[in-house]
Symmetry: C2
Subunit: 543 residues, 2 copies
């Protein structure tokens, strides 16, 4: 990023008294181009290691004997039903273990199931017939999209049949007048966004796994990501859902209308239900016009209190064009530096960093707002140093310092990931308290005798959403016990959420009580029983 | 509006070739002030007429004998429970008909019930005890907020006990950092918005009845209104709901977090459920910063096709600052003119008018965007004439031409109101088809021998939401039969919604099948049975 304009040169108060002149030169570059990011997640360090079976990692979990075992007859039924060879991966009557493995385990290589059958229906009618058969025969299933989740929600624990949505991958319609997209559940998020980009719109959701995740899976997990700050949650943007219940009932709630007050808004139940009450096969979603100008800045900040001040000023100065306010701690940026070998964006090192993005319809206006914001936060000494992307390459490069954290961590071994929401005043305190706790217990250190390599915090500050990540040399019950339930108790005391955007899956199932009271859990179980009385949908997980 | 700048003078292409100069003078006036509107709804012409009982208007509806009748013993229980004298209006053991009447009938004077008891609990615990008692005794109830609904949803049909939320009227907390407001259900929308205005925020919902309606009622009916275009639906903005189920169970889902993926999002079921599964007692809602600059323009347009073009250009030019795009037909504006006696904003008369509002954080930037928009639509001849509000008075005045339609109609006698959503290309066609149909049937005319005075269309164009209003000299079955189910069939053919934002209530109950299929209705009834097995919550309505 040597060519990125370094605000420190001109704006650091102590050195240059007239920041205004410098900012003018930034403005003169004109509106920035529309930029997009792509980012692939791999887990290089772990790639050669065998993944532990979830059934071994959770020895208390036993296969529920009420579920039938898959037979050759079942396989035959599905082969005849789905027709195409590629729609059934049969590990029951053939040796297909290698083909099935990618569907049995997650990308973090943390969860691994024992299934011997993967089905890829292509239509809602096929999904309906598959589920009806499974429900009648008491065969357990696990719905699966792009399998990019972080809580083990989309892979089997035992021999649940994987119903993968990858062959339901058609964009059905897009109306430029209203901005409403209707698409199959298995459309990849990035594909949908590219399709929209060609039509000057954007998908109102963006996240690191966009190149692999399915929009149906995004809906089923109520994914949050980077654009929530600006475009709001999927509960507001999804206008319609088409889904199939456990008994094969097709729920057609695929309205394309922004307003439709005709009865209970049942589609909302599927958003965030993690495949436990039905399989989403299609959805309609309101997509905003694509912003004509996008800018991104990267700051070094001396304290969390100053990060909060910068956030407050960003909301005030950038208002309707603020599209991201991301927080990364110093340790997380060191890890990205070590992982990528890239030169730091700023000269010095700081305990905190922020990425601030604006998206708007007029580059000059946006730049003027950004200018006023920068002038204020540099002038007041709220941030210590900063850079502003000057072109698409720098834009991508800055975002990589935020989005590269997950990959950087994956090179260290295993990662205990906690995706939590805490009121802003205490958001980062959790990382400090956790680091202190694990250090006092003697777990944290540089050499191989210490189980913990790093305790880092980053996340979507604009949404009060922190990712607490504890990088370990390998997963160990000893470390896990030191973190849990301590971390959940800490969050409960602050009325936070133990899962902000990643969901419950198997990872948080037993901890829901820290964020929901008994009545709520009882009401949720009541709904589960209503829609899936045999409990075949994604068992062993969620609530 | 003689002092409002008339764009026609400068911008109508045929007359002035250089609109730019004129627009500069607009810009020089500086950013507009933050403006607010208030509007009270009255029904003057009808005020002296007796309101017909709903039970007479719907002779097929019979009181369900499974419900108990209210006894003196019940009244005593409620009086002891609620303590305060003002919390119980007792028409059972005393003659309180006049005091009860405002709770028995709606403001449109179209629906009227027979209740003899009104309760005003002050806490969720009191609501819980009231409902538990009613559920045990099989006493039917109707939850009521500000009683400003348009579909008869908030008044009794027979002797259902009114549970009114007006004494639950405390703002519980507001966090300026996150913008999250937590308040009792009975807080009046305008009170909440004023409270927020003092803290530089706004309530993400605005509608004509803001001076009377309760935010709990807004949530229960999933109210849409004027700010939905900009801030999205309540399903996205409401972060938490506190409610009481029929059996007295208190549902505490009052999270203040923007992200919280810990189980089914049950609170969504209460949003838009019209008091049929529980009573909302409190809610938390995400409130955006109050815009620093608000501008409003009023246009005359020659055709619906040009209205659509203007809408498209508004979305493109105004983008993130567009906060309203309202459509009014010529007839609706004639009625406002007749009702108020105000001079028309424009010199000529046009078949269509639009109100376009912008809200942003920088008045100069907003005006530049508005300028570019105006220059384009005037230059291209998309709109025929227009004015731009120059101050708060003109701002209010322009909005009155939109918001005054409801009142203007009420002076004519009765109004058949259809609040529908239709894809934009055919949105206004419904009004034309309806007018033609009723005219052909000989119903429409100027003198008193014709039942129909006017067929008008207006609404939230930006949300594809049309209000079709048929003003009649008095309500008649003959006219009603000519409209229904014809209007619903028309909407069904276009995959529209028979209720965009007003809800079902009693008015649309039997027509839900035109917008929801059998499976959806069956699933809704299943939910109703789950949460209210005795059916005591707002019976005879909704689904």
């Amino acid at each position: 990023m040597s060519s990125a304009r370094n605000l420190s040169v001109a704006l650091r108060r102590a050195r240059v008294p007239k920041p205004r002149c410098f900012i003018q030169t930034i403005v003169s570059r004109g509106p920035s181009r529309v930029a997009t990011r792509t980012f692939s997640v791999t887990s290089a360090a772990n790639a050669t290691k065998e993944i532990k079976y979830t059934s071994n990692a959770y020895p208390n979990l036993k296969r529920d004997p009420k579920f039938a075992e898959i037979t050759a007859e079942d396989v035959k039924f599905f082969q005849e039903l789905l027709g195409s060879q590629s729609a059934v991966i049969d590990g029951v009557t053939t040796d297909a273990a290698d083909d099935i493995e990618p569907f049995n385990s997650d990308w973090m290589r943390k969860y691994r199931g024992h299934t011997t059958l993967v089905l890829k229906p292509q239509t809602k009618e096929e999904v309906s017939k598959v589920l009806k058969y499974c429900n009648d025969k008491k065969l357990a299933v696990v719905p699966q999209g792009g399998n990019t989740g972080l809580v083990g929600g989309s892979v089997p624990v035992f021999d649940e049949i994987v119903i993968n949505t990858s062959r339901m991958n058609k964009i059905r319609s897009f109306d430029e007048g209203s901005g409403v997209l209707v698409a199959d559940a298995g459309v990849i998020l990035e594909v949908a966004d590219q399709y929209l980009a060609e039509r000057d719109h954007l998908f109102p959701l963006d996240l690191g796994a966009k190149g692999s995740c399915h929009i149906g899976g995004n809906a089923a997990t109520n994914a949050g990501g980077l654009r929530l700050l600006r475009y709001g949650s999927l509960h507001g943007n999804i206008l319609g859902v088409e889904a199939v219940l456990a008994d094969g009932t097709i729920v057609n709630s695929l309205s394309t209308l922004r307003k439709n007050n005709t009865g209970y808004d049942l589609k909302q139940l599927f958003v965030g239900s993690e495949g436990t009450i039905g399989i989403i096969t299609g959805l309609s979603i309101l997509c905003p016009p694509r912003p004509k100008a996008v800018n991104v800045a990267y700051f070094g900040v001396e304290s969390y209190e100053q990060v909060r001040q910068a956030h407050k000023e960003a909301k005030s100065h950038l208002s309707e064009i603020l599209s991201a306010f991301e927080l990364m701690d110093g340790r997380s940026q060191q890890l990205v530096h070590q992982s990528t070998g890239n030169k730091y964006p700023l000269e010095g090192e700081y305990p905190f960093y922020c990425v601030v993005e604006t998206s708007g319809s007029n580059g000059e206006h946006d730049m003027a707002k950004l200018e006023s914001f920068l002038e204020h936060i540099m002038g007041e000494g709220i941030v210590a140093d900063g850079v502003l992307a000057q072109d698409e390459t720098q834009f991508q490069s800055i975002w990589r310092w935020r989005e590269g954290i997950t990959e950087a961590l994956s090179h260290l071994g295993g990662t205990y990931k906690y995706d939590v929401s805490i009121p802003l005043p205490e958001l980062y305190q959790l990382v400090e308290d956790c680091r202190e706790r694990l250090t006092k217990l003697g777990f944290v250190g540089e050499d191989d005798s210490f189980p913990v390599r790093a305790v880092v915090g980053y996340g979507h500050m604009g949404d009060s959403n922190l990712h607490l990540n504890i990088a370990v040399r390998e997963y160990s019950k000893e470390v896990e016990k030191a973190i849990e339930p301590w971390v959940y108790e800490w969050i409960q005391k602050r009325s936070g959420s133990i899962s902000a955007e990643h969901g419950l899956g198997i990872a948080k199932k037993e901890f829901i009580g820290y964020s929901q009271d008994e009545t709520m859990v009882k009401l949720m179980k009541q709904l589960k029983d209503l829609y899936d009385p045999n409990g075949i949908m994604n068992p062993y997980k969620y609530i």
